[in-house]
C-alpha cells in the first residue's frame, strides 16, 4: 500500500520532498514507510536521500496549555477589573496556575500585586503561548526565539527526525512485481504461479534440521574414512554369521562362586580385592549353589585333581558366597558351560555375548566403572590353539583387522593365554585389541565336561576398539549421562559390509 502510494505519487510528481509529510498524508506510520523506502532504494526503484529535521513536540505541560490556555492568561482573567485579594484569588485558582501564572503575569507587566491584593495593569491580554503551542502542534514554523523560550519553560521538546527525499530511481516502475519465495497451495488454486516471479534461492543457506531419532553410537556401527569402526550390532552380526548363539547375560548380580571360583581363580587373587570388584551390601550373599559341583571346585582349588596340583590353600565357602556385580561376562559363560556339561550327549556349541560388566575403578579418560565386554567361545572335542588363532583371524578380519599377532600372557582361567594385537594402519603400530585363550582343565573338568573337550574363548571391550578406530580419546564420550547429543547426531552412516 505504502509502496503503491510512493510509486504512484512519483509517477506524476517529480519528488517527495519530505517522507514525514508524505506518511502523514497517506495515513501510515513513518517507521513503516521507512522500511518500504529502504527496500525500494535497495532495488534502485527510487532514490532516497536522507535528511535530518528538528521537530518539536509538546510536553505534557505544553499540551495542557494548548488546550486550556497558559496559566498567566488564566491568572489574568481571574483577576476582576476591580481587583481581588490575594487570598481570594488563591482559593479561586488551581495552585499551579496560581503560582506559575502569578509570576509570569507579573513578569509580563499585566498585573500588580500590592498589599495583599491583585489588580490589572492592562485591559486585555493575548495568549501568545497558547497560540505558539497550537502552531507547533500543527507542525507550523515558529520563530526561533519563541521556540527557545518555550523550550526553556519545558513546554516543548526537540526531536530530531530522519526524513527522506524521494525521486525516481534508475529502475523505477510504476508497479513492482512481487517475487514469490515459495510455491503455496493458494498459488496452485489461483493459478497465478504462472505470472509470478520467484525469488532467487540462496543455495548456500542451510537446510532445515530434520527430526530423526538417533541410536547411541555404541549400539550401532560406524565407519569413518579408512578404518572400520565396530560396535555392538555389527559385532553381533559377525557372531551370528559365524554360527554363534547369544548367551543370556541379563544378570548383573553374580556370586563370587560363578564369577571367580568356578573359573579356578584363587580366593586371594588381586581381582577379588575390594578395590577391584563391587561387592554388595544387599543382597550380600548368594542363597544356593550346586553342592556337588561346589565340592569339586573346592577340591581342585585346595589340592588339585584332574592332573593338577591345585593352589594349595584353604578354600572358604563364605568367600564364594559373596555377591558382587559381575566383573566379566565369563561368569555367564561359566554357567552356560556348566549347564552344557549336564546335558547328554555332549553337543558342541558356539556362544557369544556383549553386555555390561563392572569394575570398582576410578573413572578417567580410559577407564569406566562399567563397560561392555564382548565375549566369544567355542566348546568342542579336540579344539586346538591353531583353531583359536584361525577363529580370531576370521572374526577380526570381519571387523577390518586383518593383520593380527599374538603375545603370551597370563590369565588365571585360560592356559594358554594370548593377547591379541592388531596392526593399526592409521597409527602405524600394533595395538592390543583383546585377550584369548583355552579354558583350563581345572575349570572345565569339575563341571563334568568330557575330558577331550576344549573351550577356546576370547574377549574384548566394546569401548576399546571403538575408541581406537574412531580416534576418540575419552571413553566418557562414548556413553553415560555425559554424552553430547550433537555427537550422537553427527555420526556417519555405517558402511561396514558395504564396501
Amino acid at each position: 500500500m505504502a509502496e503503491d502510494a510512493i510509486l504512484g505519487f512519483l509517477q506524476t510528481n517529480n519528488e517527495i520532498a519530505d517522507s514525514h509529510q508524505f506518511a502523514a498524508s497517506i495515513g501510515v506510520d513513518h517507521t513503516e514507510l521507512e522500511n518500504v523506502i529502504k527496500r525500494l532504494h535497495g532495488f534502485e526503484i527510487v532514490e532516497a536521500k536522507d535528511f535530518k529535521k528538528d521537530n518539536y513536540l509538546l510536553s505534557e505541560e505544553g499540551k495542557q496549555y494548548a488546550l486550556e490556555g497558559s496559566p498567566e492568561v488564566n491568572f489574568f482573567l481571574a483577576v476582576p477589573v476591580e481587583g481581588i485579594s490575594l487570598a481570594n484569588l488563591k482559593a479561586k485558582l488551581d495552585s499551579k496556575v496560581f503560582s506559575i501564572g502569578s509570576s509570569w503575569a507579573k513578569k509580563n507587566g499585566w498585573i500588580e500585586i500590592a498589599k495583599g491584593s491583585v489588580t490589572r495593569k492592562v485591559e486585555n491580554v493575548e495568549d501568545k503561548v497558547k497560540d505558539l503551542l497550537e502552531r507547533i502542534e500543527e507542525g507550523k514554523v515558529v520563530d526561533g526565539n519563541d521556540v527557545a523560550d518555550l523550550s526553556k519553560r519545558k513546554l516543548i521538546v526537540k526531536q530530531t527526525w530522519r526524513g527522506y527525499t524521494l525521486r525516481k530511481g534508475s529502475k523505477y516502475v510504476s508497479k513492482r512485481k512481487k517475487a514469490a519465495t515459495d510455491l503455496t497451495r493458494e498459488h496452485l488454486q489461483r493459478g497465478d504461479w504462472k505470472d509470478l516471479e520467484f525469488k532467487e534461492y540462496n543455495l548456500n543457506a542451510q537446510g532445515q534440521p530434520i527430526q530423526i531419532g538417533h541410536l547411541q553410537p555404541l549400539l550401532e556401527a560406524w565407519d569413518r574414512a579408512c578404518c572400520v569402526i565396530v560396535v555392538r550390532e555389527e559385532i553381533q552380526n559377525i557372531f551370528l554369521q559365524m554360527g554363534f548363539e547369544e548367551m543370556p547375560t541379563n544378570n548383573f548380580v553374580e556370586s563370587s562362586f560363578w564369577n571367580f571360583d568356578a573359573l579356578f581363580q584363587p580366593q586371594q587373587h588381586p581381582a577379588r580385592d575390594s578395590h577391584d570388584t563391587f561387592f554388595l551390601k544387599a543382597p550380600s550373599t548368594t542363597r544356593y549353589l550346586p553342592e556337588d559341583y561346589v565340592e569339586r571346585v573346592k577340591c581342585v582349588h585346595e589340592s588339585g585333581g584332574y592332573g593338577s596340583k591345585g593352589y594349595g590353600y584353604d578354600w572358604k565357602r563364605e568367600e564364594a558366597e559373596k555377591n558382587l556385580l559381575r566383573t566379566h561376562t565369563t561368569a555367564v559363560s561359566t554357567r552356560m558351560l556348566y549347564m552344557l556339561a549336564q546335558q547328554r550327549p555332549f553337543m558342541p556349541k558356539r556362544y557369544y555375548s556383549i553386555d555390561r560388566v563392572f569394575r570398582n575403578e576410578a573413572v578417567d579418560r580410559t577407564h569406566l566403572a562399567e563397560f561392555h565386554q564382548i565375549e566369544g567361545l567355542i566348546c568342542d572335542h579336540g579344539l586346538t590353539l591353531g583353531d583359536l588363532i584361525g577363529v580370531l583371524e576370521d572374526f577380526f578380519a570381519r571387523l577390518g583387522m586383518s593383520k593380527l599377532r599374538f603375545k603370551p600372557a597370563y590369565n588365571p582361567y585360560t592356559e594358554p593365554s594370548m593377547e591379541i594385537f592388531s596392526y593399526h594402519e592409521g597409527l602405524k603400530k600394533w595395538v592390543e585389541v583383546g585377550n584369548s585363550g583355552m579354558f583350563r582343565p581345572e575349570m572345565l573338568l569339575p563341571m563334568g565336561l568330557p575330558e577331550d573337550v576344549n573351550v577356546i574363548a576370547w574377549g574384548l571391550s566394546l569401548e576399546r576398539p571403538t575408541m581406537i578406530l574412531y580416534g576418540i580419546d575419552n571413553i566418557r564420550d562414548l556413553f553415560g549421562p555425559k554424552v553430547d547429543f550433537n555427537l550422537i547426531k553427527s555420526n556417519p552412516l555405517c558402511r561396514l559390509g558395504l564396501q
Binding site: G213, E245, F252, P283, D387, P416, I456, R464, R476
Partner: protein, 750 residues
C-alpha cells in the same frame, strides 16, 4: 598402585595456590574467581565443558584435550566457602558436581589447587597458572595411556624396573630397543616404558625436565611380567629366563648345602603364633657378594613380592638379616605387644611394640600394613637365642640385624598365613640371589621345629616331576612335533625335560619343574610353554569343524525392535550408567528406600556408584541436564536393565529390561508421551492377545506430578508408569523446563 583412601592431602607450598582446611573432619574450600583444579585423578572432561559453557568461554574442547588433569571453573566473584562433604548446599548444579568431584580427587595423594582471584577468564587463569607453577607442567606432560585392562578381567601386571646396561651385561648381549621389544613379545613379557632413574625422581618431585643432563643417566627399562611368574620380578630372574630362552645358558640346578644335622640352624615355632600368623619358613644365603646394584635388586624383589603374591604382606612377609649379627637357634613367637621391646630399622631408640604401631600411623609406607596385626592380642615376633628381636612381622625388622652392602651371610625368614605361598616366596628369594653366593645356586637350609615337635627343612627346593603324554602337548596346540623337538623347546622355558625311557605304547615326556616355576600346575601349563617356545605366531591356523547355528536371545531381539520403534518416533537413544548414587535413585526422585528393592554396593569408590538403579528416570534426567542447551523439544530414550532384589533367584536379585523415554519442552508434552505409550502398546500386541482398552489408570507416584500421571496395566499387573515429572524432581536435577517421562517393563510385553 592404588592410592590409599585416607585423606592424605598435600598442597604445594606455593603462595598462590589455594589452601585447604580440615575443620572437624570437613574439608573447606574457599574459592572465588576462576579456580584451577589439578589432580592425579582425572577430571571428567564433560564437567569441564559444562562449566566453560556456563562461563561463556568457547575454547573448552581445546582445553579439555590439553590435559585431562586440569579443570577450571569460574566461581564468580566473591568468596564462597564450600563444604566439600555437604555439596548440596553449595548452590548451582555445576558447582555441585564440581565439588563432588573435587572431593573425589582430594582422596588422591597429590592435589594442587590454584587460585586466580582477579581473573574472570579461564584462559587467563590458565596462562597465569602456567607461569606460576613449573610443577604443573609435569602433570600436564604426563602421557595418557590406553590401558589394556579394560579388555579382560586379568589384574594389572607387575612391572619390574631394571637398568638396561646391567640387563644387557647379564644377557651377555646388547640389543637395540626394537630387538629387545621383539624378544620380550616372543617370550610374553613387555617393555612397558624406557626412562631414567633421575626422570623417575623428577617426576615424583614435579621438577622440570630441562634440569636434566641426559647423557650420564642410566637408562631404565620398565618390564611388565605375568602376574604368576614370581621368578621374573627381578633383573636376575628376567636375565636368567631370557638367557635360557635364547639358548645361551642351561637350566641351573638349585641345591641345598650339605649341613650336618648337628650344626643346622633351627627356628622354633611357639604355639601362640597360630593365633595370628602360624607359619614361618627360613633359609640362609652364605657368602653372598653384594654390590650396590645387587643389593638394591635384593631389596626391590622383596618389595615386589610383598606387593604381589604376598598380597601386601597379609599372606606372607619377608625379613632379611645379617646372620653374623645374630645367634641361632631362633624362635618364632607371638607375644602381647607390651612385652616386645626393640630398636626398629631406621630408628635409634627402643620402642615397645604397641607404641611402635602407634608411631607408624603417621608413616606413609608402613601404616597400610598395621591393620594386619593391630587388633590382635598378640603380635608375631622373631628372636635369636640372645633375645634380640629380628623382626616384628609383617611390619618391620629390627635395626640390630639389618643387612648392608658388606653383609656376607643373609638369613631370610618368611612368616605367613598361607604356607604354600610362603614356600614360593622363600624359594624365589633364594633361587634368585644364590646366583651371587660363594657356591652358586647353593642354599643353606634351616630346620623349622613346630611346637608339636615335628620339623621341616626349608627351603623346599624339590623338583616336581610330571609325566606328560606327547599328544597332550602337541595335539591341543595343533602342531606335530616329535618328542626330541618338544624336549628342546621345554628346555628353553626352564623346564628340564626328557623323553620317557618307556618303550612302546604312548610317547611321554618327563618334565622336571624347578622350584622357580611355581606357576606350573598342570600338563596344560607345560603345553603352553611349548607353544610359547614354538612361537604363537608360528602355529598353523585352522578352523573349528563343529557345525552350529547362530541364534539370539528373544528378549534382546525384542528390545531391538522396541528400540527401532521408539527411534522412528523421533526419540534419540542414549546409553547410561547402571550404577548411580543412592540419592539420585531415591531422594532426588522423592522416593524412600524401603530396603526391599535396590541392590546396594558395599564398597563404592565414590558416591556415583552406591546403588544399582531401580529405575531409568535419574539416568535420563542426568543426561538431559548435561545437554540442557540442546534445542527443544528434547526427546530421548533408553532401553536398559534395572536390577531389583528378588528372593526367587539364587543370587537374590534379578535384572528387568525397561524402556524409558523423556520429553522436555516449554510445555510438559504429556500428550506426546501418552502418544508414545499408545504406539508401543499397539505395536507389541500379539495378534491373539487382547489388551484391554483401559490399560491406563491414574496413579499416585511421588516422582510424578499429581493428577498428571498414570500406570500401565497388563493382565492385572502394573508394568509401567508415565506422567509429568514432579517439579521438585526437576529442580533437584537442575532442569528448568517441564518434562514428561515414561518407563515400562518390556520383559512383561515379550
Amino acid at each position: 598402585m592404588v592410592a590409599s583412601t585416607s585423606p592424605a592431602l598435600s598442597t604445594t607450598p606455593h603462595p598462590r595456590f589455594h589452601t585447604l582446611q580440615l575443620t572437624g573432619g570437613h574439608l573447606i574450600l574457599t574459592l572465588a574467581g576462576s579456580v584451577i583444579f589439578l589432580g592425579p585423578v582425572l577430571v571428567p572432561a564433560a564437567m569441564v565443558v559444562a562449566d566453560f559453557m556456563a562461563s561463556g568461554f568457547p575454547g573448552c574442547t581445546v582445553l579439555s584435550s590439553l590435559s585431562s588433569h586440569i579443570c577450571i571453573v569460574n566461581f564468580g566473584s566473591g568468596h564462597r566457602t564450600l563444604d566439600v562433604n555437604d555439596p548440596i548446599k553449595t548452590g548451582s548444579v555445576n558447582n555441585w558436581s564440581l565439588v563432588t568431584s573435587a572431593s573425589h580427587w582430594l582422596k588422591g595423594v597429590k592435589v594442587v589447587l590454584a587460585h586466580a582471584a582477579h581473573v574472570t577468564s579461564p584462559l587467563c587463569a590458565l596462562k597465569g597458572f602456567f607461569r606460576a607453577s613449573a610443577a604443573v607442567l609435569h602433570l600436564i606432560a604426563e602421557p595418557i595411556h590406553y590401558s589394556a585392562d579394560a579388555t579382560a578381567p586379568a589384574p594389572p601386571m607387575p612391572t619390574v624396573s631394571v637398568g638396561r646396561d646391567r640387563l644387557f651385561a647379564a644377557l651377555g648381549k646388547t640389543y637395540t630397543q626394537e630387538e629387545f621389544e621383539a624378544l620380550c613379545f616372543e617370550f610374553g613379557i613387555e617393555l612397558d616404558d624406557v626412562t631414567t632413574e633421575k626422570a623417575i625422581i623428577r617426576k615424583e618431585k614435579h621438577l622440570e625436565d630441562d634440569e636434566a643432563d641426559e647423557e650420564d643417566e642410566e637408562v631404565i627399562y620398565k618390564i611388565e611380567v605375568a602376574a604368576n611368574r614370581y621368578d621374573l620380578l627381578c633383573l636376575e630372574g628376567i636375565a636368567r629366563a631370557l638367557r635360557i630362552f635364547i639358548g645361551s645358558e642351561k637350566n641351573p640346578i638349585y641345591t641345598i648345602s650339605d649341613v650336618p644335622p648337628k650344626s643346622i640352624l633351627r627356628m622354633h615355632v611357639k604355639p601362640e603364633t597360630s593365633l595370628i600368623r602360624p607359619f614361618v619358613v627360613c633359609a640362609i644365603l652364605r657368602g653372598i657378594a653384594f654390590d650396590e646394584a645387587r643389593y638394591n635388586s635384593f631389596i626391590d624383589l622383596q618389595d615386589k613380592l610383598h606387593q604381589n603374591i604376598c598380597r601386601r604382606r597379609t599372606l606372607v612377609a619377608i625379613g632379611t638379616h645379617d646372620l653374623d649379627t645374630i645367634q641361632g637357634p631362633f624362635t618364632y613367637e607371638a607375644l602381647p605387644p607390651q612385652e616386645i621391646n626393640f630398636v626398629p630399622l631406621k630408628q635409634v631408640k627402643s620402642f615397645r611394640a604397641d607404641d611402635l604401631l602407634e608411631y607408624y600411623k603417621s608413616d606413609l609406607k608402613l601404616k597400610k600394613y598395621l591393620h594386619i596385626i593391630e587388633n590382635s592380642p598378640v603380635y608375631p615376633v622373631i628372636y635369636d637365642s640372645n633375645r634380640t628381636v629380628l623382626s616384628l612381622p609383617p611390619i618391620i625388622n629390627g635395626a640390630h640385624s639389618a643387612i648392608s652392602l658388606k653383609t656376607k651371610n643373609v638369613f631370610v625368614e618368611c612368616t605367613a598365613t598361607d604356607l604354600t605361598k610362603a614356600k614360593i616366596v622363600l624359594n624365589t628369594m633364594v633361587t634368585m640371589f644364590s646366583e651371587y653366593c660363594e657356591n652358586k645356586f647353593e642354599i643353606e637350609p634351616i630346620e623349622v621345629v613346630n611346637s608339636d615337635g615335628k620339623s621341616n627343612i626349608y627351603p623346599d627346593l624339590s623338583i616336581m616331576k610330571m609325566e606328560v603324554p606327547l599328544s597332550d602337548i602337541v595335539d591341543p596346540i595343533g602342531i606335530s612335533l616329535d618328542a626330541t623337538e618338544v624336549v628342546t623347546l621345554l628346555n628353553k622355558m626352564q623346564l628340564q625335560a626328557e623323553k620317557s625311557s618307556l618303550t612302546g605304547g604312548e610317547c611321554k615326556i618327563v618334565v622336571s619343574v624347578p622350584p622357580t616355576r611355581s606357576d606350573i600346575l598342570h600338563a596344560r601349563d607345560v603345553m603352553e610353554d611349548v607353544a610359547i617356545a614354538y612361537g604363537y605366531n608360528n602355529i598353523p591356523k585352522s578352523k573349528p569343524k563343529c557345525m552350529t547355528t547362530g541364534n539370539r536371545q528373544p528378549l534382546n531381539r525384542f528390545s531391538d525392535k522396541i528400540r527401532a520403534e521408539v527411534a522412528r518416533a523421533g526419540y534419540m537413544e542414549v546409553l547410561t550408567w547402571i550404577l548411580c548414587s543412592h540419592e539420585e535413585n531415591f531422594a532426588m526422585l522423592r522416593r524412600k528406600d524401603d530396603g526391599d528393592k535396590a541392590v546396594i554396593i558395599s564398597n563404592p569408590r565414590s558416591a556415583d556408584f552406591e546403588v544399582v538403579r531401580t529405575s531409568l528416570m535419574s539416568c535420563l534426567l542426568k543426561t538431559l541436564k548435561h545437554n540442557i542447551d540442546h534445542p527443544r523439544p528434547i526427546k530421548i530414550f533408553e532401553v536398559g536393565d534395572v536390577v531389583t532384589l528378588d528372593g526367587n533367584r539364587d543370587v537374590g536379585a534379578a535384572n528387568n529390561r525397561r524402556l524409558a523415554a523423556l520429553y522436555c519442552n516449554v510445555s510438559s508434552g504429556f500428550e506426546e508421551i501418552l502418544g508414545l505409550v499408545e504406539r508401543i502398546m499397539k505395536v507389541v500386541r500379539a495378534p491373539h492377545l487382547q489388551i484391554s482398552e483401559n490399560y491406563i489408570i491414574p496413579s499416585n507416584e511421588p516422582e510424578y506430578f499429581p493428577n498428571r500421571q498414570c500406570s500401565i496395566i497388563l493382565n492385572g499387573k502394573q508394568i509401567g508408569n508415565f506422567g509429568i515429572v514432579h517439579p521438585e524432581v526437576l529442580k533437584k536435577f537442575g532442569i528448568p523446563d517441564p518434562c514428561s517421562f515414561l518407563e515400562i517393563d518390556i520383559q512383561a510385553l515379550l
